[in-house]
Amino acid sequence: MHALVTINYIDIHWATALQVVLLGFIGGILSGFIGSGGAFFMTPGMMNLGVDGVIAVASNITHKFGKALVGSRKHAAAGNVDKKLAAFLLITAIFGIQIAVAINSYLFKEGGDGHGAAKSAGANLYISLVFAFILSFVALSMLRDVIKSKGHSEADSGPSMKIAEYLSRLHLPPVIHFGVADTKVSLWVLMAVGTATGYLAGTIGVGGFIGVPAMIYVFGVPTAVATGTELFLAVFMGAYGALSYAYQGFVDLRLTMLLYLGSLVGIHLGVYGVKVVNEKYIRVVTSLIILLCVFSRIIAIPVYLRQLGYLNYAAGWDYYFNIASKFFLFASGISGALVILLQVLRAYRQRRRIQKTLLVIRKPDLRQAESAQAA
């Protein structure tokens, strides 16, 4: 087996395969529950299994492409897709993806000393740093909003809208109107958000985490349309990302297929969970899961630094760093998925209970009075 995995691909045994399926399953549950692609869990999860960062990203973006294609059909049927907005974002996002692919490829070729895993250390370090920075920001913002909204009514509990208010006052021409989303957005703002979304999708496989909040809070798009449009966009971004990475030989289809096995089941359970949990709870669970994932990635950073020669410690310590990183990643995903599954089970039991819940209160006095009056 080792002969065929010359530089990029890992050996896949039963145990590895099961772990990838589990990653997909947990990622799918989280994805269905919190509305992201689940890459924040699956990408580092695969890296912890020994998959090079760039291959993990490439395989995940290919997996996301197929998943989005299937999912966006449902949203399109529900009228939740603004194709014009998606087209504008796509053009700029492709530019962002191209930047990301170029940086990743460069770091992969130039990184480390050119032997085994260390060759990808540069790319791994870069991906880990971007991952940690962006997702810490997202998770901490979410937590801050939940804490700030404590004691306020639900109507006041939305995230800060300072950016949206500021941009709406700026009136940067040309301003484009989007019919389905029913909003007007400056082309310059569109370009900035699209490029950033594409760059992040291409770098760490995370697009929805940035794209959906940006559409809601910066553009003023309704949530359902933001989710539907993002998924529609993800089809094209995923296709472009998958084509670019596949052209360079970074896509491991085996990993993509194993991820599907878990994620396409998990996503149904996650979506089911959303129906029965209140929004604040969703945000707290989401942010805690992301923070644990970030922590897991931070623990792995010294390994890449050592491989690049920036840190000097005994190579044997890499094992412990990897184990700790793996522990926190799986702890975050598994505990998050368990919490969600618990809610799903509760709802499932509740459904059975509510089959006969009709309560009819008749007011015979009034009815009799009416009959008498009619007579």
Partner: protein, 506 residues
Amino acid sequence: MAIVMISSMYQGGREELAQALKRKTDWPVLSREELVDEARKLGIKIGRLEVAMIKRPGLPEKLAREKELYLAFLTATLCAKARQGALIYHGRAGHLLLPGISHRLRVGLTAPREVRIKRTVRALNLTPDKAENYLAQLDEDVAKWIRYIHRADGRDPNHFDLFFNLENMGLSNAAGILCATAELPDFQPTPASLKLLDDLHLSSQAKLRLALDERTHAADFHVKADNGVLTVTYPPDQDPVSRHISQVLADLPGCREIQCTMAETNILWVQERFTPESDNFHQIIRLAQRWGAAVELLRLIPPGELQGDMAALGPDPDHGFGRQACAAAWDGGVEDDDPATGADDGGLSRTEEELINRGRYGGRHTVCGGYDQILERVQGNGRYTLVVIGDMFLAKGHSTRTRQTRELALNIRDRLKAPVITADELKSRFLFGQRQALTLAGFLALVILLYGLVFTHQKPVLDFLGGAIHQHFKWLAAAAVAVFSPLVAYIYGTVAGLALKIINVD
């Protein structure tokens, strides 16, 4: 009993037209401003709703409860006044209020921009430039407000019966035309429109009570009324609050029965005639039980249904326009209330009874017309998880029926922004039958084959993806990945979806 609803933008002359009409008819006038003041006294935070709506576009979903409360107050107050006699109302979107009441006269006004600017200069003591900018911004904000509150375009001509341009016509003449129009038979109350007015009054009062009572104010209810019967559905997580519903609504005037159903979501079933023995009923009830959904019945009487009878009376002077085709067939279902009279309600009562027995009843309506009328009736009821178009246009041939049903479904989907399917599609899309079992078996075999092939031939696959072969066929490898990945997702996704359907998780 005329109801005249006048709409215009700020300083567009609506108040003056209302007063001119009042002078001619002596009908009472009510303005949006008066209603808003009353709503504020009741504690409804309209200012916050407006600011949030206009300045914080991401927030609307959060304010849904405040919006419902505002609309319930407006509807309850207008219904109460309209039930007492004639009424003139003027506001920014008066024509969109009291949806479905056929005897209201919806009037739009537009005035020359220069006139509006002059009036704004006088009213607000601004310079003309500032007044112009102010009006431009205000018009945009009001349009946004109308889209959010009424989910409609405030300028859409489909929502008006009359539209005046005050550039060449004076207010007095416009009022004269209104006066004469309001006397036309088309705008006289019918049993159907009066019944609907009562239903709207009752449901809006119930919504108000539930929203203002401290025991129930934090919950989300879906309230409908039909002939004095209130149907309240609530989500399972608000089960503890539900016991207060009957206490809060117990002494509501006009309410003779309250039906509460715990439901996670709502399914709207549109059909011409209902029978609880039909396949459609069994399929929908299966789906409702799986989803924990309440089923809302909407009987749609197509306007052309009586065309045969009308033709017998001679040529139609209106060439098919107007609402006369249904008026003879449907008087609002007042007789529905008493099944003993034997009145034909299209099977609504029997289906309702069966749904109640199964704990899945979500209310009922009867509508005459097309998709515009359906939308008018259901738009304020919140979002539906699914709209099922059942057997429609029964008087037509098979091909016409299929085409018109499909067109109806498409139009409702576009306007209601909800998934809409026909009853024929229901089984294949959401239920598990023989066809689905065959699909599952076939696709499962394909999945096993695809995974088997890839994992038993890892070396050539990896060589093709990134090894020696890849160096010569880079574009081919990329194209293969782009085709293969979604193919696997589709095939395996279908298997996973169908498998979960079997255990009722979807």
